[in-house]
Structure formats: structure tokens, C-alpha cells
Symmetry: C2
Subunit: 132 residues, 2 copies
Amino acid sequence: MTSTRCAACKHLRRRCPPDCIFSPYFPSDNPQRFAYVHRIYGASNIAKILQDLPVHIRGEAADSLYYEAHCRMKDPIHGCVGIITLLHQQIYNAQTQLSKIQAEIAVLSAKAQTESHYQHQVEHVPNVDENF
Amino acid sequence: MTSTRCAACKHLRRRCPPDCIFSPYFPSDNPQRFAYVHRIYGASNIAKILQDLPVHIRGEAADSLYYEAHCRMKDPIHGCVGIITLLHQQIYNAQTQLSKIQAEIAVLSAKAQTESHYQHQVEHVPNVDENF
């Protein structure tokens, strides 16, 4: 007999009711997804978070809870705050690079303008041949 | 009589033991810090995460748990994954801006080089006065 319980009810060793709060977001073919969030938040906290949300956005909430739980399993000290720190660093680096390149472009722009002005002057010098 | 219980033990209405796992990271003058992590993770899950870590990094872990709990309270659907998405978008925008500006600098560079070459040629044209 194939079990029709969701991953959460299987994990919690309980009957999966027809109105199971976990069932739509924790399918039986991905037991690790529930194992992770269960380990970090506990079943009652996940149920509470999901129940407090309208049905159509519970899937998105379950996804982000899984993502955060997964991060916390990989990095128990920083969780996904470690990723946020890393991304802030990347933004800082990109902004530094951008500032440098903007300064470089200002120098080149000024140089191009000066040379274009010089060229313009040269083009408008009276033709010496015409005077002889 | 002033209470010497930490914020966690006060919240949980229990005696604060001398070796309290929460006490160093959840001081009594910041009750909201524990209230947030308690609401999202539950006391036993926070205790478990802290206990599994060496003492010297538990403070950092408590900080990141508080940060994530705070994010989840503000945005129950995405938690701090919402911030990660936002930062990824910022990095994408910075990279796009960087690519555009790099293309612009390549054009200006080529222009500056061409004009410098032109100027060099003009400077080496024999002086017509010398021929007369």
C-alpha cells in the first residue's frame, strides 16, 4: 500500500488529515525539505507561520522558510545572514569599481574634449599656401 | 527586589539558572530580542542551536537568529530571503551599469587614441615656412 501522507506527517509519524496545513508545501517525495524546517523551526512554529498567511502565499513562505533552514544547517552561526553579509560586500566592491571607472571616464572625457578642441584649431589655421 | 533573570527566563516565567544557555545573549534590558526569536523558532530550538556551538561563537549565532526572526516578523512571507532577493537585484543593476560604462570607456579610449595619432601626424608635417 502506497502512503499518501505528506513529508511532514510521515516525519511526525501521524495521520495526514485532508486539510493538513503542511501537505501542499511538503510533498512526500521530498522528505528532506520538511526535515530541515522541522529541525530549525519545529513543526508547530511552521504551522503557525503558514496559518497566519492567506493560502495563496503560503507556498512562497514555505519556500523561504526552507531556504533559511537550509542556510542555518549549512552555517549554524550565521544562517542566511552570512549570505547577506557576502552580498553587501559584493555591492561595496561593485560600487568601488564603479567609482574608479567613473573617475577614469572623467579623465578620458576631458582629454578627448581638449584634443578635439586642438584639432578644431588646427583645421581652421589659414592655409599658408594661399598667402604665397 | 530587582529581578536578575535574563529576558528569556522572564519570558518563559522560569527561574534563571546560573548556567542559563540564554542569559549571556538575551539580557533582561532587551525583552523584545528574545520575544522575536521565541516567536519564530521557539525556546527549545534556540537552545538546541546555541548548545550545538562552541561558547565563543554563540553570541554571533544569537545575533543572526535575532536578525532573521526580526525579518520574518516584518515580512512573514519572505523573511530575510526578501533582503537577499533585493541585494541580488542591486548587484545585477550595478553590473549592468558597470558593463555600460565599460563600453562607454572603450569608445572614448579609441577616440582619444585616434585623435592623439592625428595630432601626432599634424605636429610632424614639415613647416611650410621653411620651404619659402
